[in-house]
């Protein structure tokens, strides 16, 4: 095998640039070299660019990255206001995993909630979107009604649902009473409190529904026409056209749904405070209590990082699985061209 003369090989910088710009290496080599001294116009442009994005950057760095780094450091310490910080290594994490039953309970509650609320919400949002995509009477009004819960404050929604779930005078139990069923204690019954919150989560499908609706309306009608000519029935059209074309939206809703459910807090905080017993002790609620009720800031920081890692892991898994079930038309067309 003949070895190429080293001098003819593009250097590492050019290779990196070619990779970054996604140009074939040959084209990257042909590009004119950039002037090392920028023109004053482009420099001014850059300065203004940074100036314009700086409020967001400052916010990101000061209020997101900064606190994240601080909590990361804090999670390896024992910290109390007014006292010096004491480094304790991995003690907080070890305690969490080996000696804190509340941590495991909170994780179990959160995972159970996510296991039901996320798929249930996805299915219901899809069904609602399919319904709202029909030529219904007053369809725009219906769409607004379905979307409304998404714009109502979490606390207001919680207060409303406290009354809906009221064992004696609540809407659900009154309705059940009409058909001869004695409704459960919902939020005051340890066996029913978590299912009640799962049920309540289905009310807020407005965001996902709107995204699905946008997806449905962008499916080319020619596909359905061709399928009809080929003799496809409604189910086949849904399964072979609608669902694949909608998969990017479902993917997005799944990712957001997982992140949101793992960060579930407001409703549990307002409605149950983690009770009865520990039936609705969600992870974020436990984290909040640890930090702001028990003032164990370091331990709470460790809890926060564990939650971050869990969400990161699940999100990455979903992303990795996406090539197998998410259909991107643009990607398919690119592949075909090649």
């Amino acid at each position: 095998m003949t070895q190429m003369p080293t001098s003819n090989l593009p250097n590492r910088k050019v290779r990196r640039e070619a990779k970054a710009s996604r140009l074939p290496l040959r084209l990257a080599l042909d590009r004119p070299k950039r002037n090392p001294t920028r023109s004053s116009l482009s420099r001014r442009e850059a300065i203004f660019g940074y100036l314009f994005i700086s409020p967001w950057l400052v916010k990101l760095v000061v209020f997101t990255i900064g606190p994240m780094l601080a909590t990361f450091v804090l999670s390896f310490t024992h910290f109390k206001l007014g006292s010096p910080i004491r480094f304790v290594g991995l003690d907080n994490f070890a305690r969490m995993l080996t000696a804190d039953p509340s941590f495991w309970d909170a994780l179990k509650v959160t995972v159970t909630y996510a296991a039901f609320a996320v798929p249930g919400g996805l299915v219901l949002a899809l069904l609602a979107a399919l319904l709202m995509n029909q030529n219904l009477f007053l369809v725009k009004v219906w769409r607004t009604i379905y979307y409304l819960p998404a714009v109502v404050s979490g606390v207001a929604v919680s207060l409303l649902w406290i009354w809906i779930f009221h064992p004696e005078f609540g809407l659900i139990n009154t309705a059940l009473c009409f058909v001869g069923i004695e409704g459960p204690g919902w939020l005051v019954d340890p066996d029913w409190a978590l299912p009640a919150l799962i049920l309540m989560s289905f009310w807020a499908i407005g965001n996902a529904m709107v995204i699905n609706l946008a997806g449905l309306q962008s499916v080319p009608t020619e596909l359905y026409e061709s399928a009809s000519i080929d003799g496809a029935n409604s189910w086949q059209k849904f399964w072979r056209i609608t669902l694949p074309m909608l998969s990017p939206m479902l993917f997005f809703n799944l990712v957001m749904g997982v992140i949101n459910t793992f960060q579930y807090f407001t409703n549990a905080f307002v409605m149950t405070q983690g009770g009865p017993g520990r039936a609705t002790l969600f992870y974020n609620l436990y984290l909040f209590m640890t930090a702001f009720r028990y003032y164990k800031f370091s331990y709470a920081a460790a809890l926060a990082w564990v939650m971050f890692l869990i969400i990161l892991l699940i999100t990455l898994t979903i992303f990795k699985s996406s090539p197998y079930w998410v259909y991107y038309e643009a990607t398919r067309q690119q592949r075909k061209k090649r």
Partner: protein, 464 residues
């Protein structure tokens, strides 16, 4: 000359470094403090030094920020601020800022960390310990010693409640306890002797309370009248005194073992659990309340004897909580609500002067007449003079209960994870309350969890 441009990556790196530096600087340990003076075991009476002699009046307008959770105190204390400023010719405004109880410690600690503490702040119960343990108050002994301030009129136990690890951090302005309220109309209608009458006869015990609760319970469904409210098994303020009066305790003297699952405590819980048929359950808690007129006996703080006047749809009276039939003893909760000076306050001397002013008998009397907040000075309980100023029925009964409280009250344990401990109690007892687990098992579980928490607790053993 080649101009070195700032790349996006460098810009982001610099920003991140700056933010990290700022955060780390903010997290840096505070400078070492001088150890605070200990509270003398026996406070010696001393002459008070006039305000003018210790704090020079400010030349510029000053606002004293005063944080507390009870919004009904806002107007009276702003008024006290006006009187104080006028009497002392000060250009000072007192701004009473109510903070919700649930958020109080959280906001205090955030303000402390942010370097903007309130000049004066309330402290009581759980907040007292959490704020004390987190160094939220200025130690008061330097001020007290400087002014030779007389502490002898304050009960030593109320001062202990306001002391964290030997440092007096706040001074009590009030001393609360719970009353056993009842609907006079319901008792008259049923032809029953009232709790006050039983108390006067020396027969006011748990058994009598249970019997009355049963007799006053009638009806069903949405119209059910409940004989009593849940005695508060999930509220440490309400329930711990029942354990004490039955001869029990929460921990051993050395704080090495939880005693909540021992007989006296189990009996106290069992008594409360036996009341369930006559009390609203968790499902009724929003609709069946004394304010809705469906509960005939209930427990609440003494201040509500006045504050609830317009909220309760029937004529109601007060008695002390019932005594244990086993010991015949009645123990009250020590709840000396107090004011302290926020750590790092800019106007510490002025705050101290106003604090002293609010603790004068005159100021405490003005507050008492408006809010029914029993004062912290023992001398004000020598007779029922100020009680007669209250617009309540049988004010002398109220005074007699307070006098009895002075004789036998106890403070809750002072430990930095007390709230976490009580949360464990709430979790297990709430399950037992709805028959998800037996009471004894629930108390055993609570004891186990408390024993684990005791190991890591920071405890000030000098609570009583």
């Amino acid at each position: 000359m080649e101009i070195k441009k700032l790349s996006r990556r460098q810009f982001l790196a610099l920003s991140a470094a700056t933010a990290t530096g700022t955060v780390l600087a903010a997290c840096a340990p505070a400078p070492e403090e001088t150890p605070a003076e200990e509270v003398p075991a026996e406070a010696t009476p001393a002459e008070e030094v006039p305000a003018e002699a210790t704090a020079p009046p400010p030349t510029e307008a000053v606002t004293l920020h005063f944080w507390h959770w009870d919004n009904y105190l806002q107007e009276p204390y702003n008024k006290e601020g006006e009187i104080w400023a006028e009497e002392n010719d000060l250009n000072v405004t007192v701004s009473f800022e109510p903070i919700p109880w649930e958020e109080y410690s959280q906001k205090m600690l955030a303000a402390l960390a942010g370097g903007t503490p309130p000049d004066l702040c309330g402290g009581a119960g759980e907040h007292q310990v959490s704020l004390g343990a987190n160094g939220a108050f200025e130690p008061l002994m330097p001020f007290i010693e400087r002014d030779n301030y007389d502490l002898s009129d304050f009960h030593p136990r109320t001062l202990k409640q306001n002391t964290w690890m030997g440092t007096l951090v706040s001074l009590p302005y009030g001393t609360d306890c719970h009353y056993w309220y009842y609907s006079l109309e319901a008792f008259q209608e049923a032809g029953l002797k009232t709790p006050t009458e039983y108390w006067r006869e020396g027969k006011w015990t748990w058994d009598v309370a249970m019997d009355l609760a049963e007799k006053l319970t009638k009806g069903s469904g949405a119209d059910k009248q409940f004989g009593v409210a849940d005695p508060g098994v999930q509220s440490y303020y309400r329930f711990v005194p029942y354990i004490w009066q039955n001869g029990g305790d929460l921990f051993d003297d050395a704080y090495t073992k939880a005693l909540i699952n021992e007989d006296p405590s189990v009996e106290a819980f069992q008594w409360a659990f036996n009341m369930r048929p006559f009390a609203p359950g968790p499902q009724d808690e929003q609709t069946a309340t004394y304010r809705s007129g469906r509960v005939m006996q209930w427990v609440n703080w003494d201040i509500y004897y006045v504050l609830d006047r317009e909220n309760v749809p029937f004529d109601y009276r007060a008695a002390p909580t019932p005594a244990s039939p086993t010991t015949g003893e009645r123990v009250f909760i020590g709840d000396a609500c107090s004011f302290g000076i926020g750590k790092g306050s800019e106007h510490q001397d002025l705050a101290w002067e106003f604090l002293k002013f609010t603790l004068t008998p005159e100021s405490l009397t003005r507050l008492f007449v408006i809010t029914c907040q029993p004062p912290s000075r023992m001398s004000m309980f020598e007779d029922d003079t100020i009680w007669q100023m209250l617009d309540v029925p049988e004010p002398e009964v109220s005074w007699q209960i307070e006098v009895e409280r002075w004789k036998n009250f106890r403070n809750l344990p002072k430990m930095d994870n007390w709230l976490e401990m009580w949360k464990a109690e709430q979790e297990e007892i709430s399950l037992a309350w709805v028959d998800e687990q037996p009471l004894e098992l629930a108390l055993d579980k609570v004891a186990d969890r408390w024993n684990e928490l005791l190991v890591v607790a920071e405890i000030d053993p000098d609570a009583n």
